[in-house]
Symmetry: C2
Subunit: 254 residues, 2 copies
């Protein structure tokens, strides 16, 4: 991909990306500071985005927020996501039998994107949101993908990823991570043992497409103390079986 990118388009995307679950409304000034452009430049871009429904202005405080057109397009993407439709019933089933929160993520470059879930019972729920992104090297879902990627791709991703320690248990040394991934590959499933949040454990298994490439993974996440119970021994096998079933329906053959 060459580098002759359209400046104003890239800038308009920068503007959209200023918004998030926590930053839902922004003023022109805040946006212009965020993207480091003059107010007038930003204003022109914002005006274009608003007129087309990609941004909306709150008439009470003049601030802007993301518009409904994005909701619309986002749902087109969701609707076209074959794997999501295929996986949904299997994930629901798995969540039911395990009585835990189950996630489906797909790989996008060196990140994992959450595309489907099934919340577990009880008041303690994991924070998770459709479309959320997470690093590959320190999450169960991510490791399940990394471990089965071609070695060169895996190494490239580890080089590109910035290693941030979320908890004392997060692995940040690429060599240690590679060891862990090797174990994961042999075992057939990945374990996240409080690497992203203390008290949180998860088991994840890879999903393959018809070309036998890892493209996604599912995980079963829960509080650590529950995983120590003997009745949970079969859990990894159940996650693996569910992942295999999704792979199969995607055209994968053993």
């Amino acid at each position: 991909m060459s580098d002759r990118l359209i400046q104003s388009v890239a800038r308009s995307l920068d503007i959209l990306e200023q918004f998030s679950f926590t930053q839902t409304e922004l003023s022109v000034k805040e946006i212009s500071e965020g993207v480091k452009l003059s107010k007038s430049t930003v204003h022109g871009l914002i005006k274009t985005l608003s007129q087309r429904g990609y941004l909306e202005q709150n008439q009470e405080n003049q601030k802007y927020k993301l518009g409904l057109r994005l909701f619309e397009l986002g749902n087109v993407v969701a609707g076209n996501m074959e794997i999501r439709q295929i996986a949904a019933p299997i994930i629901a089933q798995l969540g039911e039998t395990l009585q835990e929160t189950v996630h489906l993520v797909i790989r996008d470059g060196n990140q994992a994107v959450y595309v489907e879930k099934r919340d577990g019972p009880g008041s303690i729920r994991m924070y998770s949101q459709y479309g959320k992104r997470a690093p590959l090297h320190c999450t169960g879902v991510g490791k399940a993908i990394l471990a089965f990627l071609p070695e060169k791709v895996m190494e490239q991703i580890l080089i590109e990823s910035e290693m941030v320690a979320f908890t004392p248990k997060t692995l940040t040394d690429p060599e240690k991570i590679k060891e862990e991934l090797s174990i994961t590959r042999d075992r057939g499933y990945a374990i996240d043992d409080e690497e992203i949040e203390l008290g949180l454990t998860c088991i994840a298994a890879p999903i393959f497409n018809h070309k036998k490439e890892v493209i996604a993974s599912i995980s079963c996440a829960g509080l650590k103390f529950r995983y120590l119970e003997e009745s949970q021994e079969m859990r990894p096998q159940q996650v693996i079986q569910a992942a295999k079933e999704i792979s199969r329906r995607l055209g994968w053959k053993e």
Copy 2:
């Protein structure tokens, strides 16, 4: 809103809008024909959108489809939509008692956008999709909104809407529609009697915000013959009550 819009940004949005539920993959050629621009211009825009994850290229056939970044932003919009969170449980409840498909739409200009639903039981389901848009003047949900809008706004919308007859029962004469809306206002709920699809009937009620402005509506849609049963007499009242409850939780006071 003045008209000094940024051409290249508007064009990039034109490109995104070429895609839909039915048109999920497009080639550069198809896009350039769709937006009536040279291949090279389109290519530059596409390249920018792809590099940022708003489009993705299928490596097998070179075609492009909408990217995950839109899924992400679309979910931010969904997450920020207060009314959606508030209405969801009420809609689920209503669907349960009525045993029919229930929809929540919000007004966006002169269109209705479907933002939440609860599918009815049975194999016969209405085609409906999150983010889908529909005209206001010939749908139950739309008429429930139009009828309670300030007269001038309503008239403006009728002027701007192109009147397409979806079925022989669709009203296309603005005067007839105004009469119908007047009846709707007095009755407190709207009826769509096969105006958008033959065999399909629906009952819809308006939702108001804290400023007593109509901003949305809910509907209960089902096959016509079922609505003739006597047991269904209470249905309109139940839809109205649910809509009122949503309005109340949005800060509306009678």
